[in-house]
Assembly symmetry: C2
Homo-oligomer: 403 residues x 2
């Protein structure tokens, strides 16, 4: 097999941990696999360098930040290669450039545009373990760029796609994706497999493990992604296409998002285009609206409720207040004590009664559902935040995820 | 003017010092000059990274060492650019690769083969201060290489040559080249100008400031080299071609080399080829012979004395002992308590009596001259080490260097 393995900052956090990574890599090589390793900077290194830059400037030029930060991954890749050499294995470090990673021109948040896999293929064919500095590439001008948060994961997935690797293993300090947050429901089970789409909907469960950007890219490039722990031998969770999952459970997991706030507008003048005006203005200001419900009001007026991320609440409130000042809204109130519970599963497509069971479970626990939204594979409910854990545990049990 | 300025590890040793460098660079820019800055890694950084590598391996692969070490200069170049930007100046960092520096393939001690000055010229033409990561280039394969000790100086000189810069300023913690070591002779004067050839012969005076490799390259590329301090505003010493120095003193400086030892062979069988055998064997073992004298012996035997660097003495002794064991030499003795005093000056070419004055000065102080060697612009004498300071001071005064 050809395996791409990615090790994050904590996994290469010090010299001993880099040795641990070398030991793991060697196991895969000994098992007869070709291995490309993608590494992050040693943990703390990137922040140290950013701190240096901020010593001089609050807003350092982004091209310079890229030059600065890209050095961290280069160091790790060289050290890991040296450790592998010393264990008797042929290994070669490659910068993003050497690995053929070409990005667009947006410094500090570049998007990978193309990978020329030839240099990696050649090094693999010559019997090398290839160690690539993650998080970086070069733009068409040949300047170093970095990929932003989660960038090393993106490097790994893109490389796996370009090399048509059999597997892309993302090593972190978490051993996989669980049916729900184990800190809330200790009976949560690690999933063996999950589809890309479910993973995307379950973002809040996997956010610390995998960013949506990486999952989206894996889906697009058809890369079999495994998240597993670099500190244990436990099998991780395979994120793959739906067809690869034989026995699809109806519900795969329960996600909880506490980072939501609700804005309730009452007495909204019911003129054509008013919704478009309000939400257009919010969109212009880069505020992410999640759920929206509109209820019929009275006297030619309606009520509207919508949710926004908590850190965008103040900005959103200021915008709706301008409509209040223009007398197009009677009142705008906010509620931060809410949360969003979601039930995710591709099996929903072919099974009925999934939503009904969710509502019944909430009713049984006397939890009031404030808002509901559904997609093909997800049901989300906004409830009072104090019921968050109770809701998650009840749903986890109702859908028999603990079995 | 187009000026290349190089700042070494101590000059960029911490964030405040990098700010000082920025202040200096800006002065040159404000004076209307185009400036290319070449920077080293922050002091201690290279050793830290080497220490990391040695954690894994006593002999890490040299290509990996280059990948590792080249990150240090990249960090400094980005930080300096950010500092310059913040002061309101356009600046762009460039890795060795971006600056067009192509080297041969010898990792960790590569030689610069070619520089494509176009990217630097373009950035300068666009009004930028160009900040180049020193000590590094790329080989024809596109792999990062480093230039070995004094590598950033070489980068600066080569860049000055490629850009046909008016001046290449090497900033260190020393403010120039002195007529002799001021710790020995406090009356030593800083030279205003010195020729390349004199500088090469005076290596021991400038060794901590400039390596011969850089001076040789400056000579070859006809680069006006200035060494000066980054911690003061004092003018430095200009190292340039002989024709640029109008009033050439007969003697420019007195150099002292304490790192010499003498091996005396007595009763060497006087057969054809014996010298070639002995010195051939020493050369094979990379032992650097400096001075040799052969004196007529008796009974068909001769005596030979030669000097070697002290750290090569033991190896040299082992080799001559094999000749003793073969009965080709009667005895081999070593003397570490010697030193070499040299008088250097291009004016010697056209003045007579320079050597006679040296010998007379030694005689007046009752210093016995054990060996003598001369070149067109240098007279070297081996004397007992205890007379080192006395000899330097007497000669310094005899040639009126303190005036």
């Amino acid at each position: 097999m050809l395996i791409v393995q990615k090790y994050g900052g904590t996994s290469v956090g010090d010299l001993e941990r880099i040795q641990n990574v070398a030991n793991r890599v060697v196991k895969s090589a000994d098992a007869g696999h070709q291995v490309v390793v993608v590494v992050s900077a040693m943990s703390g290194e990137t922040n140290k360098l950013l701190g240096y830059a901020e010593h001089y400037s609050k807003e350092p030029a982004r091209a310079e930040v890229d030059m600065l930060l890209s050095s961290g991954e280069r160091v790790t890749s060289a050290l890991l290669s040296i450790a592998l050499n010393e264990m008797g294995y042929k290994a070669r470090s490659m910068s993003g450039r050497r690995a053929g990673i070409v990005t667009d021109a947006s410094h500090t948040k570049a998007r990978i545009e193309n990978i020329d896999p030839e240099p990696m293929r050649k090094a693999l064919a010559a019997g090398n373990i290839v160690v690539v500095a993650g998080f970086q590439g070069v733009n068409e001008e040949g300047e170093v760029t970095t990929l932003g948060r989660g960038g090393s994961d993106l490097s790994a997935v893109a490389i796996a796609g370009a090399l048509e690797a059999d597997l892309c293993e993302i090593y972190t300090d978490v051993d996989g994706i669980y049916t729900t947050d184990p800190r809330i429901e200790p009976k949560a089970k690690k999933m063996e497999k999950i589809s890309y789409d479910e993973m995307l909907e379950l973002a809040s469960l996997g956010a610390k493990v995998l960013q949506n950007r990486s999952v989206e890219m894996a889906k697009k490039l058809n890369v079999n992604l495994v998240t597993r722990s670099s500190f244990s031998d436990a099998e991780g969770t395979l994120i793959t296409k739906e067809e690869n999952i034989m026995e699809q459970p109806v519900v795969s997991g329960i996600a909880l998002d506490r980072n939501q706030a609700r804005i309730s507008l009452s007495g909204v003048i019911d003129r054509p285009g008013i919704a478009s005006d309000i939400f257009g203005k919010l969109a212009e200001n880069n505020i992410n609206i999640d759920m929206i419900i509109q209820t019929l009001g009275h006297d030619g007026k309606t009520d509207m409720d919508f949710t926004v991320p908590q850190n965008e609440l103040n900005a959103a409130k200021r915008i709706v207040d301008t409509f209040k000042n223009d007398n197009e809204i009677e009142d705008a109130s906010v509620d931060e004590d809410i949360c969003k519970v979601s039930i995710v599963g591709v099996g929903m497509k072919s099974h009925t009664g999934v939503a009904a069971k969710a509502f019944a479970t909430m009713a049984k626990e006397n939890i009031n559902i404030m808002m509901i939204s559904t997609s093909e594979i997800k049901i989300s409910m906004v409830i009072e935040e104090k019921y968050a854990e109770l809701a998650v545990r009840s749903l986890h049990s109702a859908y028999k995820l603990d079995q």
